[in-house]
Symmetry: C2
DNA sequence: TGGTAAAATGAGTATCGCTCATAATTGACA
DNA sequence: TGTCAATTATGAGCGATACTCATTTTACCA
């Protein structure tokens, strides 16, 4: 028992220190940027000697990679949590888009740092892998929509995926420079665009012209609901 | 005359050296990345002493910024040249999209380096300004489309602009990893999507009643038109 | 040709990421 | 509790690099 307790204590101490290093490093990286960050300052922030950092992380790039990795894993977990209770693919995609763009805007520093790693450090494999995992949330939602018959299967999913993430990424950057940071117009606009192109209107088979009038009505009702929602949330965006 | 000739010679020599530094730096930056690039190697490539570089460029970041600036200016000029002879906004946007994504793919190193500057160097003002100038090509084309009555005015142009550049940016990255690097599906799909959402279907004037309740009606009419058009165009995009 | 301002040089400086010999701490066992 | 081996921490020192500056070289004009 004594053995286990002490062993546990030791491990706890190590883990606490590891986390302290990460916390300090994150702070310094955000304040000074990757190059501007000093290992000495990171060590001081974690209240350890500079050499100790290198026991936990091979070098500066590895430390940065760990922070980036931690961020993307948390983001992925939060994304899943955000959409798990939502049934309809349209609403789920909408929620994911909202979550994504808000995350980008809130944690812009982290995003920029992650992207910079692509160039700063040659070894980006890890980060790329984490990005792929995150992106899988979208892929799953889209596939679910296809299975339910709400979305048409796209011959290359990545085309739609790039519209989704590309648009949100750029919009987040733009929105950050604006006074009005209402994301609703951007999100609704983009999802509606995807739905207009890939939504299965008549259910199963694709017909040239407006095939079944009844379907048009139901889609219009959905559109009205969406527009009304925009009217409530997006009122400020009309200027 | 002698005076002018010699004075010209001196200036020419200086300018030639400046260009030699830029050329050498570009090469080294591409080969080694920003951090990996050595000022000594850049100087050696330009066949000058290391200290001389600092007469022309304040520091490493300024040198990188000059390269980035040169690149974006050339890109902007080429973009204008690419679309100047094209009359119809749809074709022009298509051409711009093709040009943009191909440039991104061909000069991926440059793009990555430019983006990394955002983090590496705090002073990014210049690069941002050059980006804005480049983006103006798109804005002009869209406005032209609105003036001609081919496109509906969007309450916030940047929303469409971010769809355009965001999608192309992400798609370029994805395409680079693919065997098949055919940009046509991406480009056509994206422009068609924009056209489906913002193309003025019935032809001429838009209802400018922005803040009136009638706004909802006009927007609904646009939505109906889009849905109807989707029935026709959506067929092509499904393969 | 001689004088001067501009331009080039490269050894030297400051600073940083990282290493490693040494010290301190921890925990199993008697 | 005291001993000892293993683990963990330390920080002076090393190599490397961006950048400076006193000195030299070049370009130009009278």
């Amino acid at each position: 028992m004594t053995t286990q307790t002490r062993s546990k204590t030791r491990r706890q101490k190590v883990e606490a220190r590891e986390q302290a290093i990460l916390d300090s490093a994150r702070k310094v990286f955000f304040e000074k940027g990757y190059e501007g960050a000093r290992m000495s300052e990171i060590a001081a922030g974690a209240e350890i000697a500079e050499g100790t950092v290198y026991i936990y992380y091979k070098n500066k790039a590895a430390l940065m990679r760990a922070i980036s990795s931690e961020f993307w894993q948390a983001l992925t977990a939060n994304a899943w949590a955000e959409i798990e209770a939502i049934d309809h693919p349209y609403d789920a995609l909408l929620a994911l888009a909202r979550f994504h763009i808000k995350s980008l805007m809130d944690q812009a520093d982290m995003i920029d740092l992650t992207h910079s790693l692509r160039v700063v450090s040659a070894d980006v494999g890890t980060t790329t892998e984490e990005l792929k995992t995150y992106v899988r949330v979208f892929d799953t939602l889209y596939s679910r929509g296809v299975d339910r018959g709400d979305l048409n299967p796209h011959p290359a999913l990545w085309v739609v995926r790039d519209v989704f993430f590309g648009t949100l990424d750029y919009s987040a950057r733009t929105l950050r420079l604006h006074e009005d940071q209402n994301v609703e117009p951007v999100v609704t606009n983009m999802i509606d665009g995807i739905w207009a192109q890939y939504g299965s209107d008549s259910g199963s088979t694709k017909e040239p012209s407006s095939s079944e009038p009844g379907d048009l009505v139901s889609r219009l009702e959905g559109a009205i609901a969406r527009i009304e929602r925009l009217g409530v949330n997006g009122k400020a965006s009309s200027d």
